[in-house]
Amino acid sequence: SQASREAAQIAASAELESEAEPWSLLQPLNGGNRSGLLAALFKVLYDGQGGAPRLQPDSRALGYMKRLYKAYATKEGIPKSNRGHLYNTVRLFTPCAQHKQAPGDQVAGTLPSVDLLFNLDCVTAVEHLLKSVLLYTFNNSVSFPSAVKCVCNLVIKEPESKTLPGTPYSFTFNSQFEFRKKYKWIEMDVTPLLQPLVASNKKSIHMSVNLTCGKDQLQHPSAQDSPLNTTLLLFPSLLLYLNDTSAQAYHRWHSLHYKRRPSQGPDQKRDLSACPEGEGAAEGIRSSRHRR
């Protein structure tokens, strides 16, 4: 009967809860960021331990992200308001597996083609991709007095990616890099390729990258005899610019448009929306009061 089925469901969910760690019950229900700051805060409240041991990141990648942090936030950590974009999360992944596929051709300025595997376990379902970039770093800052033209050929190696609707299986694009001053890295926008994969919550992305840069435009004497590939590190990092839609993340557009009155908490707002006639009634009273 209905009652016995409900009783069975209640018993099952109670059993589930008793098995889960108490602190994990405090986790945000909307599948929010489990590996980030919040999970650590809950763990400290629960058992006093801090973050789990971590793999150490590549120093150049860390340097890039520190520079990004300084551009986006003040020294006290307050997000700068002069930013026009909507992403509140930037994730940098270094390839967890990489190897050279074919040797390059120095005369033609072609870098060796490389095979890369990125593990995107940290990306949560509530994080929506806005932009994605392959980040090449130089092993020292070089300066190119004139523009260098590079052609990049990207192929997604996932066999099942053919089944994903609208996924560009391979992706060739020409990028014009303007090297005018000291550079430590170059960025290539690969958003059209990554968008459907991240949207379908893929956790690992396997791709091969082939980069060819116009050698004759390299005016710099040192660049002539040591083409790009001796200064450009072959294995790029993957940057994802995301909009975290969970309640704990800061939504810039939200704070600009909706100033929340201190006396009105989100739940009260939800109560009103829960019974729309309540809202209509409130509206009606207000307008009649105005009329009076």
């Binding site: 960021n33 590996s35 980030g36 700051l37 919040l38 650590a40 400290v44 801090g50 973050g51 789990a52 041991p53 971590r54 793999l55 150490q56 990141p57 990648a61 860390l62 992200m65 520190k66 990004l68 942090y69 986006y72 936030a73 020294k75 006290e76 950590g77 307050i78 997000p79 509140n88 999360t89 930037v90 994730r91 940098l92 992944f93 270094t94 967890c96 593990n119 376990d121 940290c122 975290d244 309640a247 704990q248 993340a249 800061y250 939504h251 810039r252 704070s255 201190p262 006396s263």
Partner: protein, 135 residues
């Protein structure tokens, strides 16, 4: 009787040592009124500096102090706050006085190293108290 009244009138209204403004202050505003306080911490105190790269120092601030009896617009408190005060004072002291709590927050940008070695920049909502209220 006249003697009692005259002796009452002779008593000093205000103890001579206490001047008038101080005397009235104890009625108008609590001594340690509800307000915002700083608390600067560095993530190394929590032993988190191995994975929280920035910011170096974090001041979440907090609200502390007594709420005046007639709060009104002063803290943006709803009328309910005075009702709760009256209940506490006149009807049932087991109902607590209104508390001094944060009313507004500002976000915080954090740069962290994830367990798989990837690096994350993320902006969290409601991480720094910026205004207090009595509720």
């Amino acid at each position: 009787s006249q003697e009692a009244v005259s002796s009452e009138l002779k008593k000093p209204l205000v103890p001579a040592s206490l001047n008038l403004s101080e005397y009235f202050k104890q009625f108008l505003f609590p001594q340690n009124e509800c307000e915002l306080h700083d608390f600067r911490l560095s993530f190394s105190q929590l032993k988190w500096d191995n994975w929280i790269v920035a910011p170096q120092r974090y001041n979440p601030r907090y609200c502390k102090g007594d709420c005046p009896r007639a709060v009104g617009h002063r803290y943006g408190s709803p009328v309910h706050t005075m009702v709760q005060n009256i209940i506490h004072e006149k009807l049932d002291s087991s109902v607590p006085r209104p508390s001094c709590v944060p009313a507004k927050y500002s976000p915080l940008s954090v740069l962290t190293i994830e367990s798989d070695g990837s690096i994350t920049y993320k902006e969290y909502e409601d991480m720094i108290a910026t205004k207090c209220t009595c509720r």
